[in-house]
């Protein structure tokens, strides 16, 4: 019997959404994809549900990015109409700015470093990260150290460049 998916679902869903969010940068879309991944897991019944889910989610996010590129015009239209026009509270604007800055900082990382960092943040162990990224287990610490340093440096650099200084 493979893992109890209900259990994995309870424990992993928020992390998977978070993981996907930092790839597609759209909360609803991240939820859709996470649910889709679990729906597929229910069909496929993989042995290692958690690892499988993140592999599938990463693939879906990649497909999503390609699709988004094709639909760029459409998305641009949607996003260019700011929700903030009417009564968006201060903190929403702050949150948006912060998110944009984090996104820009993550973009500064190499794909492999970024993947390792996002997987770690999603609660994956070094073993799981190694299995998913193809890195040697012994290299994960170094990879994460580098990823963290670059993230923080890029974030701080972006903050200095930005016109609005928010709490880091």
């Amino acid at each position: 019997m493979p893992d109890d998916i209900a259990e994995v679902y309870r424990n992993t869903y928020p992390a998977l959404v978070r993981f996907l969010y930092r790839k597609v940068w759209d909360a609803e879309r991240a939820e859709d994809l996470a649910q889709e991944a679990f729906a597929r897991a229910l069909v496929h019944r993989p042995e290692n549900t958690r690892g499988w889910l993140f592999v599938v989610a990463a693939n879906m996010a990649r497909d999503e990015a390609r699709r988004a590129a094709r639909e760029k015009r459409h998305l641009t239209l949607l996003k260019s109409e700011p929700d903030a026009v009417h009564s968006s509270p201060e903190e929403d604007i702050d949150a948006e700015t912060r998110t944009r800055r984090v996104r820009a900082a993550l973009d500064e990382l190499t794909p492999r470093d970024r993947e390792a960092l996002l997987l770690w943040d999603a609660g994956m162990s070094y073993d799981e990260i190694a299995a998913q990224t193809g890195l040697a287990r012994g290299a994960i610490g170094t990879t994460l150290a580098r990823a963290r340093r670059r993230l923080v440096e890029a974030y701080d650099a972006g903050q200095e460049g930005g016109q609005h200084v928010a709490r880091g």
């Binding site: 969010y21 639909e71 015009r73 239209l77 009417h86 984090v102 996104r103 960092l117 070094y126």
Partner: protein, 364 residues
Amino acid sequence: MSHVDEGTLHAYLDGELPSTERAAVEAHLADCAACRGNLTEERSLRERASAVLGSARPTERPAPPLDQLRREPKRSPWRVRRSFAWAASIALALGVGYYMSPNAPVPAADNMSQPFAVAHQRAETNDEERDKSPAPPAAPSPARAPAASRLLYEQRSARPENEVARREAPRADSAAKTSALGRTNAAAPPPRLFDSLSVEARVASGAAAESDRLAPAPAAGAPTMVVDGIVAQKLPATNWPVISRRMAKSILGEEPVGLPGLATRRFRRVPGTEGTIVVEQAIDSSTVIQIFQQPAYPYDSTGSGYANEGRLRVRGNASEQQARERGNRLFARFVKGLRVEIMGPLSPDSLNRLLEQVAPLPLP
């Protein structure tokens, strides 16, 4: 042991060092001030990175029930879930509504923001009607409801000018209900879900031309619509404030409703109205339907009673009514304590069938 490298320090801080290695690292740290200094530095770096990442996280919403995923609702035809026979009872009621019309014909080729003529109906708690057994799920749309449901619409021209102006003023920033979100993108790849509906969505943009003809010509100026007798400026629905589900619930006084099988994109508050929210759900990546909802009988501060007042405002005549009905793109029904309307770039029939399935959204 030689000094501890940064990767090992991170693995140590992450609790991922094998126990033997861990012991060696700890022994070294006890003796080496330099490495302890590095450890402190790396610890704070690790915490900062985590905080930076943590500041970009989606609003955490609880997962929908797993058994909902089990059914893979997104892939199954939505028809299988039509089980709300009780729903159709809404149709039997006296309606009063508003009518939105684009003020100028929009070229059919511009399918990015095609407005649709809409009308909404408010059922009335008419005991006589309610006591009848609920109509079957395949009941005619509210717009084509039996004669008992006299659908009368008011329009701007039916109102005294000064009253319109009076009502217009405080609503200057009101947004009209528009299906601008229900965009289609001909260049997009074929949608995975709700294929027939989204194909229809593309076709439907052409159908709006019909509603243009049927729509009464607004007086002049900016596009306007009449919502419960209030003339509102038409603004893209995408500008309406996005709210959380919790906020939506507190506005409505109960769980928002929608199509349980569809991905909910967001909740919005309709500006300039009291207690109306919109649930936006995606049929596919480029087709969004909007489900308007508000408490069925919101408290009216004038004391006259919202529903009552609505009935008194009814204007119209039979031929007008028929013309409107053909142009309908928005249908209404009651779901529990809410009056629910649906809009989207789909045919009236599809919208109607979707409306039949509207139910309280499953608790996330």
